[in-house]
Symmetry: C2
Subunit: 422 residues, 2 copies
Amino acid sequence: MNIRFYNARILSLENDTSITGGELWVQGDRISYIGKQKDNDIKWDRQIDVESDLLMPGFKNAHTHSGMTFLRSMADDLPLDRWLNEQIFPREAKLTGEDIGYCTKLAILEYLTSGITSVFEMYLDPKVIDEACVESGMRCVQVGGINNFSQSLGYLEECYEELNSGSSLTSFMLGYHAEYTCSKELLSGLSKLSHKYAAPVFSHNSETSSEVQGCIERYGLTPTQFADSLGLFDHGGGGYHCVYLSDEDVEIFRKRKLSIVLNPGSNTKLASGIADIRHFLDAGINLAIGTDGPASNNCLDMFREMFLVTGLSKLREKDASAVDAADVLIMATKGGAKAMGLFDCDCLAEGKKADIIRISLKDPNMQPLNNIAKNIVYSGSKMNVKMTMIDGVIRYEDGKFFIGQDPDEIFSYVQALADRLR
Amino acid sequence: MNIRFYNARILSLENDTSITGGELWVQGDRISYIGKQKDNDIKWDRQIDVESDLLMPGFKNAHTHSGMTFLRSMADDLPLDRWLNEQIFPREAKLTGEDIGYCTKLAILEYLTSGITSVFEMYLDPKVIDEACVESGMRCVQVGGINNFSQSLGYLEECYEELNSGSSLTSFMLGYHAEYTCSKELLSGLSKLSHKYAAPVFSHNSETSSEVQGCIERYGLTPTQFADSLGLFDHGGGGYHCVYLSDEDVEIFRKRKLSIVLNPGSNTKLASGIADIRHFLDAGINLAIGTDGPASNNCLDMFREMFLVTGLSKLREKDASAVDAADVLIMATKGGAKAMGLFDCDCLAEGKKADIIRISLKDPNMQPLNNIAKNIVYSGSKMNVKMTMIDGVIRYEDGKFFIGQDPDEIFSYVQALADRLR
C-alpha cells in the first residue's frame, strides 16, 4: 500500500523533539519521504489529510506479559506474595496455547489504542505468541523466560532458531525469568547459548529489595553482578524493572552497554519502589519503558507510564525539574527501539519502517499548543490516538481495529476464560 | 427532557460498589427511577440503549483552577519557586475577565471528556467563572481565593451573596488562598464572615513542608492549628493538598469534620510529596480528589488522579494492599460531593440530580469484566467515557460536545491568548 499523509505536524525524533510541518509518504512497509509538499507521480492507495495533527513514531512497550490480560482486575489490592502465589500462578498453570493466543490479541487491541507499535514480550508459549502477533500485525520482539519450572535450554534454542527465521515482524531474544527462579546451572547453560549466537540476554532484575537480598545470600553478589560473573552480559542485553541497583550494578550496565527497561506503573501498583532514573541518565545508560503485564498494572498504556517515569522521579528527587519530559519521550520511542534491536523503527525518517501514530491535537487536553512534545508526556491520553500504523499497515483508526479478527470475538473468548478460572 | 437509559449496568454507589442491571430514567434534572424494566406512559425525548455499558455517578473534581489552561505545558520541568514566580504569576497578572471565561471553558471541555460533572473551583474573577459554568452547563462550587493581593473581604461577601442566589447549577463558598499569602488580620476577618453565615471555609493547606515550616516560624502553629485557632473551622470546611499534616492536624480535621482534598497529580509533578492517605482513612476523615490546575498537572483527568491516590499510597506504605481501589472510587464521587456540599449529586438514586456518566466496557482496557469498579480506578481512561450528563443534560457524547459553543472557537481564543503571553 502507498499512503500519503499531508497537512501534518511531524515529530520525527530523528535528532531532537522539534516539530516540522509537511507531508510523509509510506510506500510498502517503509517511509519514503518526509518534507514539504512536492509533486509526485506515485499511485496512492490513500491520501490522508492529517488536519495539522501530529505524526510521530509509535511507542515501544519494552516489557510486558501480554497473555495475562485474563487476570486484569481479578486480584487487586493484595500483598505481592499472596497475589503471585494464590492468585496468579495457579491460574496461569491452567492456560492452553489457544488461551494465550486470545489473551495476547486482547492486549494487542489495547496496545493499538495507546499508540504502541512494538512490544518486548516475555510469556508462556513463544510460538503461540509469535503467531498471534503476526496474525494481528503487531511488531513483537520476544524474550525467552526460561526458569527452573518451564522452558528448557533446548526449547529456548529451538525458539531462537525458528522464530528468528519467520516473519520479519517478529523476532526472538535470549532471556531468563529472573535469578531467583533459575539455578546457577541453568544460567550457565544460557550463557553458553548467548556466546554461541553472540546474542544479548534480558531478564527481570532487582525488581524488589528482597530479590536482591536473596541473591546476595545465595551467591554474595547482586543479581546484576551474578549475571555478569556468568558471562550473561558479554553480548549485551539488559534488565527489566531495575528498582534496586547498586552503584556497582549501574557501572556494569554502563560498561556492558546494557539497557534498563523501566516499569513504573507496575512498580507502583505492587509497591515495589521507584527506580533511580536520574542516576541511570547521568551514567548514560539506554533507558526504555514498559507497562509490565496487565495483572500488575492493570492497563497497558504508555501515556500513564511516561507520566510516571518523570513524576515518580520528581518525587524521589524532591525536585520538580528532575527527568525532563523530553527525555521521557525519547525513552518511550528510541530507547525502547534500541533495547529491542529495532534500529529501523526508532524514529520517522526516509528508509525507516512505517511504525507511525497520529495524535489528535484538537482534543481539549492537548490545547493550547505550547510545548506539544512535553504535553504528550504530561497530558497525553489514549483518547488522543487517532491512528496506529505498523509496518505500513493501519491497524487502528478512529476507534476501529483492523487486525484481521473481530474484537468482540476476542472479548468473548477471554471473558469465558476469565469466568472459568476465577 | 425525559431520557430513558436501558440495557444498563448501574454502579449507583448508593451503598457500596456493587453493580446492578436494568434501566435508569431521567426526568428534568433528576433521576426518577432505577430498577428492572417496567411499563410506563412517560413521553420520552430519548431512549438510549446502553448496550450493557456502565452508568455511574459523574466524578467530582474537588480542587482545580480551571482558568489556568492557557499555561498548560508553557513551563514544565522547572523548580517550584522559579515556576511560580517567573512563569505563572507574571502571566496571570495580564489576564482579562474574558480570558478567564474562555480558559475556564477549555477546562470544562476536558472535564467532560473525563466524566467530571462538578468542580470545586478557586481562581480569579468568580463572577466570570460562574457565568462560564452556567453557560456551559458545568456544575460548579466556587471557593473564594482571598489573599493579601486580591479579593477583599467585601468582595468575597458580595460574591457569596450574589453567586448563591443565582443559578442552581453553581454556588459559592468562603475560602482563602493559603496561610502564607494572607495576613492574620485578613483571616480573622474571614473567620467573622464564616461565623456570620455559619459557612465552612476551604484553603490550600500544608502543600509543601516549607509552607508548614514558615507558618510555625510565624505563629508557632501549623497552618491547620493556626486556622483552627482563628475559628476558621468552627463551621467546617477543609483543605486542599494536605501533604504535610501532623498528627495534631489530623485530629483537628477529624474533630471538626473537615474534608481533605487530595491532589496527587500536582503533588507529583511539582515534587511536593505524598499525602498520608491511610492515616486519613483510619481517622475516618472525608476524602475527595482534585486535579489541581492544568499548569501544575497538566491534565484534568480523574482517572489519572484515582490511580495515583492508590498507587502512591502503596509506594509510601510499601504495601500493595494499601488504600483499596474501591475506597478511591468513593473519594472521587461521594467524597467530593460531601466536601462540596452537593448532597443531591453524590450517587445514583431516585430523587438525586442526574449527574451521570456512561463508561464503555467494550474497550480493550476494560476487558475482561472481572471487577469493574476496581478496574475503573486501575485501568480507566478518558477514552472509555461515552457520555457525560450534568443536571439532566447530555453535555458530551461519543466525542461530541454540547456546551452551547463551538469548541474550535474556544481553542482559537485560548491559543491566541497563550501566543500573546508566551
